[in-house]
């Protein structure tokens, strides 16, 4: 008997017991679809986190910040200078593995006002024009300040969309997009001119939801309930985008001269930077670049280790760890459901061969060998698993859609080809394993006893 005949017989047998076969397949269908859906959810999570990682500047970005002086250098504390522009110039000249350097001088507390409206942005800082590239900002209206603005320490600033929303009105409230370029605002009571505005940053999911809400508003013109995408969904990684929108940049020298050099609250000039952001030339040279920067900084800091490197690596490691955990636990749960499906197949195959002892006896009497019977039963079990697996792949699409509807997450689940292949492959493997024992049992039947069986 060739394999084709065995497969034909398998299909006939399954077709003859349609309802029973369907119930048996159900286990495999659910197992496969939960496996695929689980990995789609994890994949969506991973994508969302990667998106957020890119939004905060990518893996190549490193922030140099002030740090407490280590205990063994405490006696040098009065010599410590903190991060200054010396570090920036030193790195520029002596650290070729660092490709982009941006000094950051933050100011707190800060109050922006326009007319009667006030706003405190999360991050207001004096910096260089390179901050645009460093922090992956995109200017939507106007322009970024340039080196001349910096050189002349002009009172200009570039704002994020949150500042515009707070001082001039958001598109959701006013119904139109306001371009604030050219307007004048007060930053801590000093007049500044807005020369540019960044685009509104949001996650993929928020963008979709906003598009949907807009569509809804257009269709039902009288629909008063406004859907605010950013407030409707504050879970997960979207806080990264909100912080990014709440940014105000002004030229480095403006910050220094207008706010710091004249003395802050206590009248003492404060030349310290709140940090220096650098981007290394390539991720492969990350460790080397860090070492190089460290050497330079040890020199500019007179050997006092009052600085530290904040890399995104920790963040990315915790992302990978949490994704690994999610994948692991989800995988185990789905594997269990697939296993239950397999046990269902084995159970039904055992029942089926008990029912068909006489048939097996007849087949053996007219010349079926051990192998023929074994293959026949095994093929039947594999065919059930195979059909169940295919149906499961189909169902997984529906399941993912259902999951999206009942639990709106930040991240759209993504069904990958690999996960489908993996789930389908395991369903076939389960079919083979589940069919093995029943097939062996059937093939071992003694034809004489099988023929006498009632």
């Amino acid at each position: 008997m060739n394999l084709w005949n065995a497969i034909t017989i398998g299909f006939k047998e399954i077709y003859a017991n349609k309802f029973r076969s369907l119930l048996t397949m159900m286990g495999i269908i659910l197992g496969v679809s939960s496996l695929v859906a689980m990995s789609a959810l994890v994949k969506g999570m991973e994508n969302g986190m990667k998106e957020a990682l890119v939004a905060i500047g990518g893996l190549e970005k490193v922030r140099i910040e002030e740090e407490d002086i280590p205990a063994w250098q405490q006696h040098l504390a009065d010599q410590a200078v903190g991060c200054t522009m010396n570090d920036v110039y030193g790195l520029q000249q002596s650290a070729p593995l660092v490709k982009l350097i941006t000094p950051e001088m933050r100011m707190r507390p800060v109050l922006l006002s326009k007319g009667g409206r006030n706003f405190t942005p999360w991050n207001l800082m004096g910096t260089w024009p390179s901050a645009l590239e460093m922090n992956e900002h995109v200017v939507q209206y106007g322009r970024m300040f340039n080196d001349l603005d910096n050189e002349f320490s002009r009172n200009v600033c570039v704002i994020g969309s949150s500042t515009r929303d707070a001082l001039f009105g958001s598109p959701e409230k006013t119904g139109r997009e306001i371009n604030p370029v050219g307007e004048s605002i007060l930053i801590n009571h000093q007049p500044f001119k807005i020369i540019g505005m960044f685009q509104h940053y949001e996650s993929e999911q928020d963008r979709k939801m906003r598009a949907q809400a807009e569509l809804l508003n257009q269709q039902g013109g009288t629909n008063k309930s406004k859907v605010n995408p950013s407030s409707a969904n504050r879970r997960g990684s979207s806080y990264v985008f909100e912080l990014k929108n709440s940014t105000v940049y002004m030229p480095m020298n403006t910050m220094w001269i207008k706010f710091k050099a004249g003395g802050g609250t206590n009248g003492v000039p404060d030349p310290r930077l709140s940090g220096v952001s650098v981007k290394v030339r390539s991720i492969e040279l990350f460790e080397l670049a860090l070492q190089q920067a460290r050497n330079v900084l040890m020199s500019t800091h007179k050997g006092i280790e009052d600085f530290t490197f904040r890399t995104q690596e920790n963040w990315s490691e915790s992302i990978s760890a949490s994704i690994k955990n999610a994948r692991m636990s989800g995988g185990i749960i789905s594997a269990i459901s697939l296993l239950v499906g397999g046990i269902g197949i084995m159970n039904i195959m055992l029942a089926s061969i008990t029912e068909r002892v006489r048939e097996i006896g007849i087949r053996k009497a007219i010349g079926a060998t051990f192998f023929d019977v074994f293959v026949q039963i095994l093929v039947e079990s594999v065919v059930i698993a195979l059909i169940g697996g295919l149906a499961g792949l189909f169902t997984s699409n529906l399941l993912v859609k259902l999951l999206v509807v009942i639990s709106p997450t930040d991240n759209t689940p993504v069904i990958t080809f690999e996960s489908m292949l993996m789930a389908f492959g395991s369903s076939v493997a389960i079919g083979i394993i589940a069919g093995f024992i029943p097939a062996l049992k059937a093939a071992r039947l003694n034809p004489i006893q099988a023929l006498r069986y009632e």
Binding site: N5, A16, R363, A365, A368, D372
Partner: protein
Amino acid sequence: MALVELRNVSKIYHLGGEEIRALDDVTLDIDAGEFISIIGPSGSGKSTLMHILGCLDSPSKGTITLDGTMIHNASARQLASIRNQKIGFVFQFFNLLPKLNVLQNVELPMIYSGISGKERKERAMAALKLVDLENRSKHRPMQLSGGQQQRVAIARALVNSPKIVFADEPTGNLDSHTGEAILNLFYKLSKEGRTIALVTHDPEIAAVTPRRIEIRDGKIAKNVDNKLAGLGGTSKFVIKE
């Protein structure tokens, strides 16, 4: 050389330390083209003899040759192949597969001998024609009468052109009229040169066959040629010559 040669064949079962000789030192020859019956009461060992002759079982002692092949020490795989190629079985309860139609049932032995679909169909139809059922090929066994089902079973037994056909109580589940038709069919097939062995407990049926072998307590009790012994006319079954 005879088609089947049994030499000192015994089949011994051990039940709870007790030795049961289902067959005890049986020696028997069946020639090609013979029509014989194996008769004996229940428990006499006739079924065991048929199982051993039919390669469903192996003897404990002795040698068997079928068509020149030694089968007493063949492997399970070889036995399956011999059953498929050289032996046809007809059973008391027909033993057709209810989920397959008549044609598919007859094709079944050829599936296991690896014959292609087209040839399978042609040969199955030819075998059905032999038993006058070619117009029932698409029916299910359950849609046929007992006699028709038994004829399908006979067609299935003949489809691989076996050397010998074993029929185990082929009329046991049929009324006497239908049984007579089946016996006539066997007689006709025998006339065409096929070797047929009927296993029965009924002397009336055994009387139909030219040669009969009587088994008692695992031994051959008589080995009588019915016609020579003048017993040919004692059967209630009428065989149309």
